[in-house]
């Protein structure tokens, strides 16, 4: 059989590979030849300015010989006669000093308070920044935490060039943060989410407390991410959490309170009489019977009893000022070769929208212990408990349902009864205030723990054996009870049926997910004269098991019991399932440099995944990169202003397999039928599978430059990239007559090309005043290169040669001012009247039809940028971040932006509508947006809004108390600060916040503006 032959071949390949790996290990062992050079004892002192640096690290370059400076800044180290020492200290840059046979050295380190340490955390290892040959951006936890947020993902915005961060919602505990590294590279279910590595293993960033983060690295190109092979196609975010520092015990405590409000809300008409007149005008315009009589309008217009005839502002009921509190306590220290860090965080985050709340408790433990000279063990454990409450229909529905209430009635009558509408013929939907008032909220509890254990053994000088095993466990449960609540019409308090909470009853569910991973690798570093090698190779196994169980009952006789046993067993339901996936990987990496001048890197990874068929499941991913430190060349040696200049390039391939769990197994779906009064089980096969399914692959070419100059005051990094994703995993386009679900296949290709740069300048103007400025910029262009037959969605198109999901719309060309103008215009499939939209006859054939839709730019931003500023003056510090996005358009419709959708209130802008006496060309006449064909028949540019924006994202001012003053009470430092988030925004986007992930419904949970007051003390 052909199949079994293939399996056989693969087995052989497998064995070969294992043999090769064994050989590799042996080779590495053999290379460990004796490394005996003449040794010299060097003494020295490290200082910055006049003050000695305590605890600075001194390392003989290319070796593991390492020591630290003592309380006077002095050190002693033995090194070969012509060694190079690398001296570094947290908060300072790194210096290299050639010993040149000297035995006494005085070394000066320059402060670089804002710069992340000289060493960058990359895949499975660390690398000196100057030796990087790949595109990696980093940010320190310190910089990250200059903003205050409860979700660390949101803090990444504007910090890392190449990373696009959009917060989709201001909903507590459900911020829907969308991360994209270098654009959208695939339309497959495999998705565009980057891989997140926490302390060396895949984990969750969401679940961390921002204060526990030490550094974040963004691996953008193939060279940096290929070591994550199968999972690196969308880039990798590598997070290191705190593990504590040597030295004495230190305790710090941080408290802050934030006062949050929505950044922006639509300005709606809340005068009842005006609302009724506009409503009648809209109904008449739309060819429908008006809802209100003149008598009713007069009742509201002339009322003196504003309880009976209110001008109710529903949005004021929906949004309240929220007070968000964070406590964070950190204990850290180290003694006798053991360092530790323990962080405890409590976040209490009520929503600005009523009904939403989130409480988060986090615990982070980092521990490293050098058991003896050669063995180091360590652990990092993060725990998170989240307690979230939210109305079951979600924030978008809460918002739109509130807009779909007329100002004619309050949510609740003075006697406590909930109101449905004022009059029965009014349109509308759920009473959201009633839903929250009756506590119709899902209670969800999420327990999450991620942790790892590491064991590093220095087998011999330069060769270490590193092992790491970890697990992430997530347990989630919810309780969703829907009570029976009566509602009434406000005009006569007659019965109006039940409050719309869906089917009354209870649903409860539990899901759990256990992810385990371990890797074991050997790494080796060696310098031989001008040649420096470092290499590592390892094996990794990942396994994931998920399960869920749900149950429900209906027809509860009371609203007071919210557990299953409180409901009748008749009609109860339950369901549950489980799933599993696994990945096995072999990987290796090699770095070499000559004279620290010519750099070369390569990495390889061989992955097998359970998601792909046996014959095609193994994928080989690799990358090559090179760098040239031009500044080391003799012709630049005398250029004194230039500290470092490096040109680098990389190329490689990455994989993506994250498509469903079982995309290739043909299975039967359950299809029961009710024969003869009982349920007969049934099955049917309805899905095609592709037996040769294989990896989706992304190929990235990256060329970059790193420069630092003027005594390292200026640094600049720029990258150009060309990222090509092919063999995209997608549902194939099968004809409908086939009657089967389409198989997942490999087909299609997307290319993203772009540039990004970061420039930083820091300087000290006087003894008291220093500052830094950093600018990030990114821009990319997306092209769908291979797709097959064009697919047109509601508002977008997938066509080869165009950006993926480019807008494909009718062009709105103003307003028909007269019947005469309509008669002269191309024939529309609808019958317009004056005041309706004029649609452009794009193909000029005299009629408006499907063929008049056209390509419209703006689905992706043209460019994004951010500016970070920092200023220190005496004891004051000031930081600010500005963030902008240019050129993106968003298609929005429905409640809020369109009048009378489900009875929703119009925004005040409709006062400028077209009327026979106000012949405007910017707005149509007012209409009822429940299928008003002359407007809503067309997915047109009428709905497309400019979402470019520039905002002062954050500003923070801090004051540090003089340490001498507080040292008497045992404090090391104390700082108070004030921060403001989402302070100012400039944008043309109407009404709501322009920063959002998607179009469609206009209303989404608004972003919040927060003013935070906080204090940090350290003992």
């Amino acid at each position: 059989m052909k199949d079994s032959m293939l399996v056989g071949k693969l087995n052989v390949l497998h064995i070969h590979l294992i043999t090769h790996l064994r050989c590799l290990f042996l080779f590495i062992l053999i290379v460990l030849s004796s490394n005996l050079f003449a040794q010299l004892v060097i003494k020295g002192k490290v200082a910055t300015g006049d003050s000695a640096l305590i605890g600075a690290t001194v390392q003989v370059k290319g070796t593991n010989t390492i020591t630290q400076t003592d309380a006077n800044g002095n050190f002693t180290i033995s090194a070969p006669t012509n060694a190079t020492l690398v001296i570094s200290s947290v908060g300072f840059g790194s210096e290299e000093v050639k010993t040149n046979n000297r035995s006494n050295l005085n070394i000066q380190l320059t402060s670089s308070a804002q710069q992340i340490g000289e060493v960058v955390v990359v895949g499975y290892s660390t690398q000196a920044k100057r030796k990087l040959t790949s595109a990696v951006a980093t940010v320190s936890g310190e910089d990250l935490n200059k903003r205050v947020a409860t979700n660390p993902v949101t803090l990444l915005q504007g910090q890392l060039p190449g990373l696009q961060v959009i917060q989709g919602s201001g909903e507590p505990g459900n911020e829907a943060v969308n991360l994209r590294i270098r654009g959208i590279s695939t339309f497959s279910g495999a998705g565009n989410d980057p891989l997140v590595i926490v302390d060396g293993l895949p984990g969750s960033l969401n679940n961390l407390n921002p204060n526990d983060i030490e550094s974040v690295s963004l691996l953008k190109d193939a060279a940096s991410a290929a070591i994550y092979g199968s999972r690196g196609a969308n880039g990798v975010i590598v997070i290191k959490t705190k593990k504590g520092k040597g030295g004495s015990f230190s305790m710090s405590y941080n408290y802050n309170i934030g006062i949050s409000n929505p950044t922006s809300l639509p300005d709606v008409i809340s005068n009842s009489a005006e609302f009724m007149q506009l409503s009648n005008e809209a109904y008449t315009n739309s060819g429908r019977a008006p809802l209100y009589t003149q008598t009713q309008i007069d009742l509201y217009a002339n009322a003196t009893d504003r309880v009976k005839y209110p001008n109710h502002k529903w949005l004021d009921d929906l949004f309240k000022t929220a007070y968000v509190q964070n406590h964070y306590l950190n204990l850290s220290g180290g003694k006798d070769n053991t360092t530790y860090s323990l962080g405890i965080g409590i976040t209490d985050q009520p929503g600005t929208m009523i009904g939403f709340s989130y409480k988060k408790y986090t615990l982070d433990l980092g521990l490293t212990s050098k058991v003896n000279k050669r063995v180091t063990i360590g652990t990092n454990v993060q725990m998170r408990y989240g307690d979230r409450k939210y109305p079951p229909q979600g924030a978008g529905d809460m918002f739109l349902s509130t807009l779909a209430q007329s100002p004619l009635y309050p949510p609740q009558a003075p006697d406590g009864r909930w109101i449905k509408r004022a009059y029965p013929n009014e349109q509308g939907t759920k009473n959201t205030v009633g839903i929250v008032g009756e506590d119709v909220r899902v209670r969800s509890f999420d327990y999450y723990i991620q942790g790892n254990l590491s064991l590093d053994v220095e087998i011999m000088k330069g060769l270490t054996w590193e092992n790491k095993a970890g697990a992430n466990y997530d347990s989630y449960k919810f309780n969703d009870f829907r009570p029976v609540v009566q509602t009434y019409y406000y005009n006569d308090m007659s019965s109006a049926g039940l409050l719309d909470v869906g089917t009354p009853g209870l649903n409860v569910g539990r899901t759990d997910n256990l992810y385990t991973v371990y890797y074991s690798q050997l790494s080796y570093r060696k310098t031989m004269g001008d040649h420096t090698f470092s290499a590592f190779a390892g094996y990794q196994e990942e396994n994931n098991q998920a399960s869920s169980i749900n149950a429900g009952r209906t027809q509860f006789t009371t609203n007071l019991i919210r557990e299953l046993n409180g409901g009748p067993t008749n009609g109860m339901t339950n369901n549950g399932t489980s799933s599993q996936w696994a990945i096995h990987s072999f990987y290796g990496s090699l770095n070499y440099d000559y004279q620290d001048k010519y750099l070369f890197g390569a990495s390889i990874r061989y992955d097998g995944t359970s998601r792909l068929p046996e014959d095609t499941r193994w994928g080989l991913f690799y990358s090559f990169s090179g760098g040239w430190r031009v500044s080391k060349e003799s012709f630049l040696e005398n250029v004194s202003w230039l500290n470092d200049l490096k040109i680098r390039g990389s190329w490689g391939q990455l994989g993506n397999q994250n498509i469903g769990t079982y995309p290739y197994q043909p299975t039967l779906s359950t299809r029961d039928y009710a024969f003869g009064g009982s349920v007969s089980p049934g099955y049917s096969a309805s899905t095609l599978v592709e037996p040769t399914l294989t990896w989706e692959t992304t190929r990235v070419l990256d060329i970059g430059i790193d420069l630092s100059a003027f005594k390292n005051k200026l640094s600049f990094t720029a990258d150009w990239f060309n990222k090509y994703t092919f063999d995209i995993l997608r549902g194939s386009q099968v004809p409908l007559w086939l009657g089967l679900n389409a198989p997942t296949i490999n087909n299609g290709a997307v290319r993203n090309k772009g540039v990004e740069f970061n420039a930083q300048y820091r300087d000290k103007i006087s003894r008291d005043l220093s500052f830094n400025v950093s600018v990030n910029f990114q821009r990319y262009k997306n092209i769908l290169e291979k797709f097959g037959k064009t697919e047109i969605g509601g508002t977008t198109i997938r066509q080869e040669g165009h950006p993926l999901d480019q807008f494909y719309l009718y062009v709105w060309d103003g307003i028909f001012q007269s019947q005469e103008e309509i008669n002269k215009s191309p024939k529309q499939p609808v019958t317009p009247t004056p005041g309706d939209l004029k649609i452009r006859d794009v193909n000029a054939d005299g009629k408006i039809d499907d063929k008049d839709r056209t390509f419209i730019d703006g689905v992706y931003p043209s460019y994004q940028y951010s500016v970070n500023l920092g200023l220190n003056w005496r004891s004051f510090d000031l930081n600010a971040q500005m963030y902008g996005s240019e050129g993106q358009k968003i298609y929005v419709n429905g409640w809020g932006i369109e009048p009378f959708r489900q009875g929703s209130v119009p925004i005040t802008n409709w006062r400028n509508r077209w009327t026979p006496t106000n012949l405007t060309n910017t707005m149509p006449k007012i209409y009822v947006a429940d299928g008003y064909a002359p407007v809503q028949n067309y997915a047109s540019t009428y709905y497309l809004k400019d979402a470019s924006f520039f905002r002062l994202k954050n500003i923070q001012v801090g004051y540090s108390v003089n340490p001498i003053l507080i040292s008497r009470i045992g404090m090391k430092s104390a700082r108070v600060y004030f921060a403001a988030d989402n302070v100012l925004t400039a944008s043309k986007f109407p009404g709501l916040d322009p920063e959002r992930t998607s179009g469609g419904n206009y209303v989404v949970y608004p972003q919040v503006r927060t003013f935070t007051f906080g204090a940090t003390v350290q003992f």
């Binding site: 087998i459 094996y539 299809r671 009710a674 099968v734």
Partner: protein
């Protein structure tokens, strides 16, 4: 040095363990909650499971109440009988703005529903012989043939010219497109399948939900009438009548709710539901129909009823109705009032299909009424129509219509003697409209009678809002093939004329 040696040893030991442990079994995982196709079609019981699977396609889940294919009452929203006030599946909009290859969701949804069922049936027919033999095999195949004809007849009625697939879809090369067959040829295939079904199915009364001979015969009469093969249609209808397996239900309304409809001798085929496990989609039917007034009768239909035709009040509620008339609401809604509580003024609230025991239906209410697809009254009126068209209004025509009119509880006077064939045609059309209101037949009747444009283009559903008119064009006799299907069979499958 001793330490070093130890560690090396540990390392080598651990490393070799590691490499050994890289077992590939963990990479071979299968869905734990779904059967693999490779274990199916092994035992006789698999045939039962697969057959139930075929009927399951009658529970279409798309389109909400208003454009779900076998939620039959909703088809009347496309006609002058009723109005669907919620734009589920785009149905209400299409009523006024017309049907296009990408109208709402329903143009694609019905087409897809039918082909999905057909694929399952073809696969069933290709495999069932592996586990069954003899009479049992023939009977199982008979049900499959019936269901295949049922689905192709829907396609033929709506879209007319469609691709015909007769083989196991898992063996098909789907990468090249497939051309459509003419409506005539599709119908020929429908007749073949129905003949095979009629030959194989048991000549029992319908009851359990399994198709019987009468189900297939009833459908075939409908097909023959659609093809205007009146003589054959009359003969087959007559055979159903003389086989005497069915009779008119003495209580007209009880054909439409549980538990009464279960015992009705009038039903030839229906879609079966069963509480608590198999419920209607979304909410109870009564919540959609009576609570939300999702479907409302038109004044035009009310005007069609003869004075004192009791079917009018068995089908609709009127202003002032209370519990005595079956109005299900109590409290301050106890008196039916047009213009309140979602009841749009100018229309009539629906009573047919309401389970009389339900009070105050709202969220959480449960009902499981079967959707009736063919009734014996339909067979009788189809007989009358076919005979009248073939040979004129003879006594048997009068007899069959009058039996429908004179059933207990309806008791309408017999038709006057001496009607011409044309007059009789009008009488039959009238009778069908009032007898089958809200049963999904009117749209297809109007089309096959060739009067759909005349009746539906420019029709004003609500006399209080004369500006809103429905749109119907002659080309709708052949609905457009969904745009997606045209795209995916580019150059091979061509769009119907006029789109």
């Amino acid at each position: 040095m001793k330490n070093y040696r130890n560690y090396t040893l540990y390392f080598l030991f651990a490393a070799s363990l590691l490499l050994v442990s890289c077992h590939k079994d963990l990479l071979n995982v299968a869905p734990p909650d779904q059967l693999s196709t490779s274990v199916f079609w092994k035992t006789e019981a698999d045939a039962d499971l697969a057959l139930a699977g075929l009927y399951n396609y009658l529970y279409t889940s798309s389109g909400g109440y208003a454009t779900s294919q076998y939620t039959v009452m909703a088809w009347d929203n496309f006609t002058d009988d009723s109005y669907g006030q919620y734009n589920y599946g785009g149905g209400t909009n299409a009523l006024t703005s017309g049907i296009t290859p990408s109208s709402g969701d329903f143009v694609r949804a019905y087409y897809t529903n039918n082909y999905r069922a057909i694929a399952a049936i073809n696969s069933f027919l290709a495999n069932v012989g592996k586990v069954l033999t003899g009479n049992k095999l023939a009977a199982f195949k008979g049900e499959a043939y019936f269901l295949r004809a049922f689905n192709y007849f829907w396609l033929a009625q709506l879209y007319g010219n469609v691709p015909v697939v007769k083989v196991d879809p898992f063996t098909l090369d789907y990468k090249t497109g497939l051309a459509k067959s003419n409506r005539v040829d599709v119908l020929k295939f429908v007749e073949e399948d129905l003949d095979a079904a009629i030959a194989a199915l048991p000549n029992d009364a319908y009851g359990t939900g399994h198709a019987v001979k009468g189900s297939a015969q009833g459908y075939k009469v409908r097909v023959l009438l659609f093809e205007k093969k009146y003589t054959e249609a009359a003969a087959l209808a007559k055979q159903i009548i003389t086989d005497n397996k069915y009779s008119l239900n003495p209580a007209y309304a009880s054909n439409f709710f549980k538990p009464d409809q279960t015992a009705s001798k009038e039903i030839l085929f229906s879609v079966k539901y069963q509480l608590p496990n198999i419920q209607h989609q979304d909410v109870a039917l009564a919540v959609h129909m009576q609570r939300w007034k999702g479907e409302l009768g038109t004044q035009d239909l009310i005007n069609e009823y003869e004075a004192n035709d009791p079917r009018k009040t068995m089908t609709f509620f009127f202003q002032g109705d209370t519990k005595a008339q079956g109005w299900p609401f109590t409290g301050d809604l106890a008196v039916a009032t047009s213009g309140t509580d979602s009841w749009l003024a100018g229309y009539y609230a629906v009573k047919k299909w309401l389970t009389p025991t339900l009070t105050n239906p709202d969220y959480g209410a449960l009902d499981d009424n079967d959707f009736v697809l063919v009734r014996f009254a339909d067979v009788k009126l189809m007989y009358a129509e076919a005979t009248n068209e073939a040979t004129g209004p003879d006594a048997s025509v009068y007899q069959q219509i009058n039996e429908v009119r004179l059933r207990p509880g309806v008791s309408m006077p017999a038709l006057p003697a001496g009607l011409s064939a044309a007059q009789m045609r009008d009488r039959i059309r009238h009778e069908r409209r009032v007898e089958f209101a809200l049963e999904g037949l009117r749209y297809f009747d109007l089309r096959r009678w060739g009067i759909a444009t005349q009746k539906l283009n420019g029709f004003v559903p609500n006399p209080l809002v004369p500006a809103i008119k429905t749109k119907y064009e002659d080309k709708y006799e052949f609905w457009p093939i969904p745009q997606t299907e045209i795209d995916r069979n580019a150059g091979v499958l061509l769009q119907n004329a006029g789109y």
